[in-house]
């Protein structure tokens, strides 16, 4: 009986707290809009022609990005996860880096690069600039999702197919249907990410629905319209969420497996050079060129720009790391708890809340948090870094939840039951059995949340409290008013910090995964 009560408390009380902290702001936004009858014209104007045009345009841009990135990800996924190729570890790591670096850094880099190459980058300040940067930033996500799905296909399925049909046909008839859900997931996720991203369209001066909401809210102070538009975007994302319910619940890329793969790998000896060339081309476009361009543009000024950039960025670096670290600890803890209550106690509420705040565009989440917490009584949250931590939790809690949840699903219940029969208390089973087995998943969730929190811009721009200096915000806000070389230098510092941290995490991860490889 006592055990049941404890399980009930563990499951329900934090759920309520999470609902009050993150769920209620979204509901309050909706209610505020519904009951606000003062300005009917503003309320209705959000469904005008202009709005519909912007929605259509945003969906078209994001749709193209999702298509291109998913296609590139499928090709790379196949090469890296299904072929016996030298240096696959290096390629996987290097091609994943763009995903871990804030999209606007790439926007700055490519803008610099085109200027350096052609002396003119005007053409880049358009929809095509957004499509190029988003595709290059998001295709690694598709590669990861589809690659994971490919590596989970049992070798025997393909071998049985190869006994009766040629290789090409086997890929089409057996492999492709088996990874169909992974392809759908990547398409949907990239669509949502691209639709939600505020930084790249804003940087290139491209009007999308997300930038429009930001402008209405922050520049024109037209709150009813901004809220109305936010609701509309919320509805679009909720519709996409329905698709998630079908496909994303067991998304393979959110898993960290400590077991070896049983999938079939192909050699294609004669085409190895071609595949290496293809991977290098992508690597150059997605990583080498942007970094090189950024460096070159920084050096076109003088070394003084670097000094100035460091003076400007110095305090922001430490504060960014500190806040990202606090946010990540919160995200990982909530991720662990919410995964546990979903997988073991069948409480789905925290999952739904985290999914909702994850797919809602940053601008909408930011507005919801501001409207909810901007009260004198809640100033201890609104006026401090706590609001940022909540924003990070809202944006990335779902990722941690899924990584840890899938890790937990890999732990057979019988491991817990074996201890239960022996009379080991529940808390000890959790601490001694579950936690050690979850370490790889916890680490992956921690690293991903940390890097993403460090580079988050969309919601941070809206909610960061006075006196807080953060790397992405600093670079973004200053870029319009300083020489381009200074912006590039600041971005390069931003990128270097991210790369150093990623390398450190990679080394720590290598050690950790080796230590916790049990299969």
């Amino acid at each position: 009986m006592g055990r049941a009560i404890v399980r009930h408390i563990i499951s329900k009380v934090p759920s309520l707290l999470l609902f009050l902290l993150l769920g209620l702001p979204m509901i309050a936004l909706l209610l505020q809009w519904l009951v606000n009858g003062d300005d009917k014209s503003a309320l209705l104007s959000f469904i005008g022609r202009e709005t519909l045009f912007l929605i259509g345009k945003s969906l078209l841009i994001s749709g193209i990005v999702a298509l291109l990135a998913t296609f590139m990800g499928t090709v790379c996924g196949f090469i890296l996860y299904k072929m016996r190729l030298a240096f696959t570890g290096f390629y996987k790591m290097a091609l994943l880096l763009p995903l871990l670096i804030s999209p606007y850094i790439f926007a700055v880099a490519w803008k610099d690069g085109l200027f350096w190459l052609f002396g003119n980058n005007a053409a880049f300040y358009s929809d095509s600039g957004v499509i190029l940067v988003h595709t290059l930033v998001f295709f690694p996500l598709a590669m990861l999702i589809i690659g994971s799905a490919l590596s989970r296909i049992d070798a025997s399925y393909e071998e049985a197919g190869l006994m009766v049909i040629p290789f090409g046909k086997m890929l089409l008839k057996i492999v492709l249907p088996l990874i169909r859900s992974a392809i759908t997931i990547s398409f949907l996720l990239i669509l949502i990410f691209s639709l939600s991203d505020f930084s790249v369209p804003a940087f290139f001066g491209v009007r999308t629905f997300t930038t429009e909401i930001f402008t209405q809210f922050s520049a024109l102070y037209n709150f009813p319209l901004a809220i109305g538009q936010s609701i509309l975007l919320l509805v679009i994302c909720l519709l996409l969420m329905l698709a998630e319910a079908r496909y994303l619940s067991d998304a393979p890329f959110f898993s960290v497996s400590v077991r070896g793969s049983m999938s079939k790998k192909y050699a294609f000896q004669k085409r190895q050079a071609l595949f290496h060339a293809l991977l290098w081309l992508l690597l150059i476009m997605a990583l080498v060129l942007p970094v090189f361009m950024l460096g070159t543009q920084s050096l076109t000024g003088s070394i003084l720009f670097f000094r100035e950039a460091w003076i400007l960025m110095g305090p922001a670096v430490l504060q960014s790391i500190k806040l990202a670290l606090c946010g990540t600890l919160l995200i990982t803890s909530v991720g662990l708890w919410s995964a546990y209550v979903k997988v073991r106690l069948n409480n789905w509420l925290p999952n739904v809340l985290l999914l909702l705040t994850f797919i809602v565009p940053s601008t909408v989440l930011g507005i919801a948090l501001i409207r909810y917490y901007n009260l004198p009584v809640l100033n201890f949250i609104y006026g401090t870094a706590l609001i940022l931590l909540l924003a990070y939790l809202g944006k990335f809690g779902f990722i941690a939840n899924r990584i840890i949840g899938n890790g937990m699903r890999q732990i057979p219940v019988s491991l817990e039951e074996a201890a239960l029969i022996m009379g080991i208390p529940s808390w000890k089973i959790f601490v001694r059995i579950n936690l050690p087995l979850l370490i790889p998943s916890l680490f992956a969730a921690f690293v991903l949340s940390f890097i993403l929190s460090m580079g988050e811009l969309g919601v941070t721009m809206l909610v960061y409290p006075p006196g807080t200096e953060l790397m992405p915000v600093k670079t973004f806000t200053i870029s319009a008013n300083v020489p381009e070389a200074l912006t590039s230098s600041m971005t390069l510092i931003n990128l270097t910090v991210a790369l150093v941290l990623i390398t450190l995490f990679f080394l720590a991860g290598k050690w950790l995964f080796k230590k916790f490889q049990y299969a």
Partner: protein
């Protein structure tokens, strides 16, 4: 006196009924083999006796004490003096062989843990594997660790859910003989689930043949082999 009694047990997983009015008494100190095709409810019987599942209806008694009844677990698993060898063995992958076996004793504040663990390891001839991790063991060695772990707390009942399914016949026979020896010394009741009727004939003192959540035949090997049930006849022939 019968040690384990299941009276009119019905059990459902969601809408699916896996046990239907199952009534049986398992005799003390004997080995009863539960046999039947996959999905007939054999594992569920073990899990109900262990207290890992709550019966949808009916009563379970161990040594005359009601341990489970409709919708509730009256005595939690660890107080039933039951050992369970799971089908997947459920060895904790992050613990060494020694730790896997000692873990339960450590929680009971036992002062003689090391000796007890090595006693069991020696009994199974795997004391040299004490520092190894489960993934470093062969299939047979893993089975021995799982059995040793389930016996270390000296249970009155040992529940075995097809634990020897994936090892070769020779090793299986050796392990079963070994287990029988231990059973004679420790005097525990053993319930052994298998879908292999030949293995059941060699292992069990009594047999229970199950089909679709019901008992088709039960009794001694001879009684079961003379059963008039068509299902039992075809199952034993297969």
């Amino acid at each position: 006196m019968p040690e384990i009694i299941l009276e009119h047990i019905t059990h459902c997983y969601g809408d699916k009924e896996v046990l239907n009015d199952f009534t049986y008494s398992f005799e003390q100190g004997k080995t009863t083999c539960l046999i039947g095709p996959s999905g007939c409810g054999k594992t569920t019987v073990l899990r109900l006796i262990a207290g890992l599942e709550t019966p949808s209806s009916g009563v379970i008694k161990i040594d005359g004490v009601k341990v489970s009844e409709k919708g509730s677990i009256l005595i939690p698993p660890h107080q039933r003096q039951v050992g369970f060898v799971f089908q997947d063995l459920a060895l904790w992958p992050h613990f060494s062989v020694y730790k896997n076996i000692a873990f339960a004793l450590a929680d009971k504040k036992d002062t003689n843990i090391k000796n007890k663990v090595f006693e069991w390891l020696e009994l199974f001839g795997i004391s040299d594997k004490a520092k190894k991790y489960p993934h470093q063991l062969s299939g047979g060695q893993k089975q021995m660790v799982a059995i040793a772990r389930s016996l270390i707390l000296q249970p009155k009942i040992l529940l075995m859910d097809e634990p020897l399914a994936n090892i070769d016949t020779h090793l299986k026979e050796r392990l079963l003989l070994h287990l029988k020896d231990i059973q004679r010394q420790q005097q525990f009741t053993m319930l052994y689930v298998t879908h292999d009727h030949k293995e059941a004939m060699n292992t069990g003192d009594c047999l229970v043949v199950m089909n679709a959540g019901r008992i088709e035949a039960d009794g001694s090997k001879e009684e079961v082999s003379l059963s008039s049930s068509e299902f039992v006849k075809s199952f034993l022939k297969s």
